[in-house]
């Protein structure tokens, strides 16, 4: 099939190009480890809602990493490509638009998978991380979360004309979710109002689902999370499809 070979070639090339940006590689993989280490030094001995530090926070940092991959790895690449006219050039070939976007999904998944592996290894070595209780369920939850969060990466650069504004908004979104979705601080210590806000943020459900399948229950017992994620996935994909722009003009 034409489309499949184009998809494979594009994802391979994009992944290769990612590894040619040495600094981006360094920070992409170092950032989550740094955070796990930092929070481990602070809360490493504490128990969070019946989980050890690493069992609670490594899954949630993996969840956060889905968002950073969407916003910064995929999002930044796409807005730069739009600015430089790379997207326009691709659209001047017979390649189908969905193939280009799917290739960026695949490339994002590869980068995300590597950083998740790095985090798990780091967690095992330094903080006695346990392996997931329901591994297949965890993988399924991850896949669902990735499909849910990645459309953000397509949406953000389309809404903003300017690369800088786009990355400023992405940073704001990330920081907001970091502190309010339970990824960094337990929700229990927050006032009720903020707990309400947290449940509106999509990352909350991603974290909840990942933590649960990792530590307690299979995916079938967490259908609320699943339905919310599926719903938002369809909504955000539709938005991304509607607003995605191929060129900067």
């Amino acid at each position: 099939m034409d489309n499949i070979s184009a998809l494979l070639r594009l994802s391979t090339i994009e992944t290769k190009l990612f590894f040619r940006e040495k600094q981006a590689v360094f920070w992409t993989f170092l950032f989550p480890i740094l955070m796990i280490w930092l929070f481990g030094e602070m809360f490493g001995k504490t128990q969070v809602a019946g989980m050890s530090y690493s069992d609670a926070y490594v899954p949630s940092w993996i969840a956060v990493n889905i968002l950073t991959t969407a916003l910064f790895t995929i999002g930044t690449t796409l807005s730069a490509y739009r600015q430089m006219g790379v997207m326009r050039r691709l659209m001047a070939t017979p390649v189908r638009p969905w193939v280009v976007l799917a290739a960026h999904m695949v490339y994002g998944m590869i980068i995300f998978f590597i950083s998740a592996m790095v985090m798990v290894i780091f967690g095992v070595l330094l903080f006695h991380l346990d392996m997931p209780k329901y591994p297949a369920n965890t993988v399924l939850a991850l896949l669902l979360s990735v499909l849910r969060i990645f459309p953000f990466g397509f949406l953000m650069p389309s809404l903003e004309k300017n690369v800088r504004t786009a990355s400023a908004i992405s940073s704001l979104l990330l920081n907001l979710m970091l502190f309010l979705s339970g990824a960094t601080f337990p929700l229990a210590i927050m006032p009720r109002f903020l707990q309400g806000v947290a449940k509106v943020l999509p990352l909350y459900y991603v974290i909840d689902l990942l933590r649960n399948t990792w530590n307690f229950t299979p995916i079938a017992s967490n259908m609320t999370d699943v339905w919310v994620l599926l719903f938002v996935m369809i909504a955000s994909s539709a938005l991304a499809a509607k607003f995605f722009r191929w060129d900067a003009s």
Binding site: R89, M91, A92
Partner: protein, 313 residues
Amino acid sequence: MVKAIEIHDLCKSYRGVQVVQGVSFSVEPGEIFGIVGPNGAGKTTTMEIMEGLRKRDGGQVSVLGLDPKVNGQELRQRVGIQFQSTSIQEKLRVKEALSLFSSFYRKVGNVDQLVQSLGLTPYMNVYFKDLSGGWKQRVTLALAALHDPEILFLDEPSTGLDPHARRDMWRLITQFRDQGVTIILTTHYMEEAEKLCDRVAMFNKGSIVALDTPSRLVTQLSRSKFVMFNSEGCDEKVLEKIPGVQRVQKEHGNIRVYAGDLQEVSRLIFELAKARQWEIVAFRFEQGTLDDLFVNLSEGDGQHQRVAASIDN
């Protein structure tokens, strides 16, 4: 013979501004067809409609028998497109770019031979961003041509190139034509249109104001037949009184005498020069160029668009 391109009464507007209005033309297979005109004349919009990258508001367009509005994907299997200002991924090596773009097409031509004829062989492992303008242009030309397209659309292929690289580009374009490819190109450079194109359409304000071979455009439409010479002592007031002279221009001792019958006027100029002892140097007949013609045409509607037309001078 079946036309490569047929356009009838094409219209397009953006936010209420009519950028292309009632454009009609056709292109024969194997032709190099030039589209010239000032910025904002509708050249690029017309190109993008032919390429199926923009939707038209009205009129009929047929490219290789296909309607670009309906069969864009199929059309782009058979035509090649080079943009003026787009780039490819910066850290892509030339050979990677070629193999990536090859994967987009049903069939690919002889890429090795293409690479060789474009002189890209020594650059196959270089990042795109590290190439100079002329070599980048060759790479994007290779990407546009690697599937043996029947039509090549080139948007200002030599803009930003130094004179040497520009000449190389002309040679390459001619090579493609010799292989039977139909070529549509836009340009700001009248010299390029004159040297390269079989026929030229002059766009102004969204319409075609002239369409013919470059030489016929110049001879039939040019209002600027003149003789030109250098002379320090010569008095233009006297020249203006010669019967048949329409206009005299003098700039730093460089004189242009516009007239209908150049031969008779020249004889009279030399008689005057002998009588008044003017020294005449570098005397020559000039027919005017597309440049002059273009300035005339775009000034014809009372607007001064000299700037746009003569950017290249």
